[in-house]
């Protein structure tokens, strides 16, 4: 028996595909639309949520027997707020430009439905190790969609990936731009993120018909 049993492994792999927080549970959409215009911002957001949700789930799970159920939401908020402040301060200290791009959306991780949802639905009723895996899995599922959306939006919208001009230079007219290609400005607008997420949902559900709800 390895470190992660088969049942525990499902906690990580399920949210990546068939129980993805964004495409199946449709949670955390707001940040997925707002900050995915650049791949870098998507990755940082994904890592931040991974940190907050992984640690937060463990903390809540450790306290699950001593939290009075009447005030559990407030306790959860305190935990997530503390973790988000850490993330926010780290970003401000080491990646100031990026933290400006992400602006309020780092702070808004507190209200990200995925986090409170996992606290409520999983961490309050499970042991720390399982809670940790569940937190990592759900954050990874969220981050995966963010990175896919960010990849396409940055590639088609700005012609770059992580800031590298992969399609050539639009001003110098090199690469694809030499033959008349132009960046798609619509990709940089939030409505297009919704459409990209919609297309991912479409592809996912047409591959696995069991996911289609009536």
């Amino acid at each position: 028996m390895g470190l992660i049993s088969k049942k525990d492994a499902k906690l990580i792999t399920d949210p990546l595909a068939d129980n993805n927080p964004i495409t199946i549970q449709v949670l955390g959409i707001c940040s997925a639309l707002a900050i995915t215009a650049e791949l870098k911002a998507s990755i940082v957001m994904a890592v931040s949520v991974l940190f907050v949700l992984g640690i937060g789930n463990v903390v809540i799970s450790l306290m699950r027997n001593i939290i009075p159920s009447k005030i559990r939401i407030i306790v959860q908020l305190v935990v997530v707020a503390a973790l988000v402040i850490i993330v926010d301060q780290v970003l401000k200290a080491f990646a100031y430009e990026l933290s400006k791009t992400l602006s309020v959306f780092v702070g808004l991780i507190i209200t990200n439905c995925i986090i409170m949802g996992r606290f409520e639905a999983f961490a309050l009723a499970n042991k720390p190790w399982q809670s940790f895996l569940d937190g990592i899995g759900n954050a990874a599922g969220y981050g995966l969609i963010l990175i896919i959306v960010g990849f396409f939006r940055e590639l088609l919208g700005s012609g770059t990936l992580l800031g590298f001009k992969v399609l050539g230079d639009p001003i110098e007219k090199t690469g694809l731009y030499a033959i008349g290609y132009e960046n798609n400005g619509f990709m940089l607008l939030s409505p297009m993120a919704l459409i990209v997420v919609g297309i991912i949902i479409w592809i996912q559900r047409s591959r696995n018909k069991a996911l289609i709800e009536d």
Partner: protein
């Protein structure tokens, strides 16, 4: 055995083939199919979807031909090769073969790309979902080349058509199920994705963008500018065209939307053929006039001074709003789309009125792009079912009251 029978036999033989819907779609263009329905009661009428669509296309053909002449005329005029047409609609300078051939070779590729890409996607989806190819794209395919600037790169058009047909129509279930007008979805996509090709003073005249690139490359040539009337008004510039020019359509603009005269004729034809709704067209015009009057009123009450950036468009005579920009084209050919418009008679009046009203409002206040018909129609497309809902509920309430009065 004639061709007709042969084609029918061919169809029988290949009944189970996946590509049959594609064949049927082309087949029914030319011949009435032989098969009859086996169940239920059916109304037999001559105007099926295909005939309806063809009628709308016929109404648009004059605009298309005029658009070709106009594209050539604006090109030659801007390059100083011909004199300004002074003889009104029948000017000899306008209706020349030279103008036509320049326009023809610019417009036909737009039409071809629009149809090939759009129909290919329709057929693909029909084969995949194994249903008959629906004719919904016939009108859209003709509308699209008429509402884009003449120099739109063909690949952009292809991308936009693919987006519009898939996201605007197929995801909702195909023809008849779409919420938004597909042609306008395509236009909106182009506008938001490639704004430099959709607005400004370079894109409306064939060759102007090319000239700009030559200047950027260091060649000694004059820049060409062909601002639309709305563009000039939004910048508070003098308009260089007479009202009659606007009415005839001898002005820069998208390919087929400049000639209010021909659009009017097309509209009358649609009303006469009972295909376009006169309620929508009329109420839309009324809505536009009222909004125009409000703006004129604001100007004459001196709420808006000459220094305001809205002065140019607000002080335009209210009825001139009908002649400039895409208002007439949108009202006649796109607001009346039976799928996306309101269905009830009272609903149509409200729907049309709001389109006209909002078109002029957006036109004046939109800082990025001085035209509002596209956005107004798309917005009202979304609200059309809501309007219908309240009209129907209102009617139900009225009749319930009558029933109660009778019982009591």
């Amino acid at each position: 055995m004639g061709l007709k029978q042969n084609l029918h036999n061919f169809k029988e033989k290949n009944k189970d083939k996946k590509w049959l819907p594609a064949f049927s779609a082309i087949h029914t263009f030319l011949f009435l199919p032989n098969e009859t329905t086996h169940n239920g009661t059916h109304i037999k009428a001559a105007d099926d979807l295909k005939r309806t669509m063809n009628t709308v296309i016929m109404a648009m053909v004059p605009c298309l031909i005029f658009g070709m002449f106009n594209a050539g005329y604006q090109h030659h005029l801007a390059f100083g090769e011909i004199q300004q047409a002074t003889g009104g609609f029948l000017s000899a300078e306008f209706w020349t073969l030279d103008n036509f051939s320049v326009g023809f070779w610019k417009v036909i590729p737009l039409v071809v790309v629009s149809y090939v890409v759009g129909l290919a996607i329709e057929i693909l989806f029909a084969i995949k979902n194994s249903h008959e190819v629906e004719e919904g794209y016939l009108v859209t395919g003709m509308l699209v080349p008429l509402i884009v600037p003449i120099d739109t790169p063909l690949w952009m058009l292809a991308v936009a058509v693919a987006f519009g047909v898939v996201i605007g129509k197929e995801v909702f279930g195909g023809t008849g199920m779409n919420i938004l007008n597909p042609a306008l979805t395509i236009r909106a996509f182009l506008f938001f994705a490639y704004p430099t090709w959709m607005s400004g003073d370079k894109v409306w005249v064939h060759g102007a963008v090319e000239r700009d690139q030559m200047i950027a490359a260091g060649q000694n040539v004059d820049a060409i500018s062909g601002e639309t009337i709305l563009g000039s008004l939004a910048q508070g510039k003098e308009v260089a065209y007479s009202v009659w020019d606007m009415f005839y359509g001898i002005i820069p603009g998208s390919v087929g939307e400049t000639s209010t005269l021909l659009i009017l004729l097309g509209g009358l034809f649609l009303i006469f053929a009972k295909i376009g709704s006169w309620r929508i067209m009329l109420s839309s015009v009324v809505g536009a006039l009222i909004m125009g009057l409000i703006f004129n009123g604001l100007v004459s009450a001196e709420v808006i001074s000459e220094g305001s950036k809205f002065y140019g468009l607000m002080s335009t005579e209210f009825w001139q709003h009908l002649l400039i920009g895409g208002f007439a084209f949108g009202t006649v050919f796109m607001a009346t789309d039976p799928v996306t418009a309101s269905q009830t008679n009272k609903g149509k009046l409200i729907y049309g009125f709001l389109i006209g009203f909002l078109s002029i409002m957006i036109r004046v206040f939109n800082p990025a792009y001085p035209e509002g018909v596209m956005l107004a129609i798309l917005l009202m497309n979304v609200f059309a079912p809501t309007i219908d809902h309240y009209v129907v509920q209102g009617n139900v309430k009225k009749r319930m009251k009558r029933l109660k009065a009778k019982v009591a």
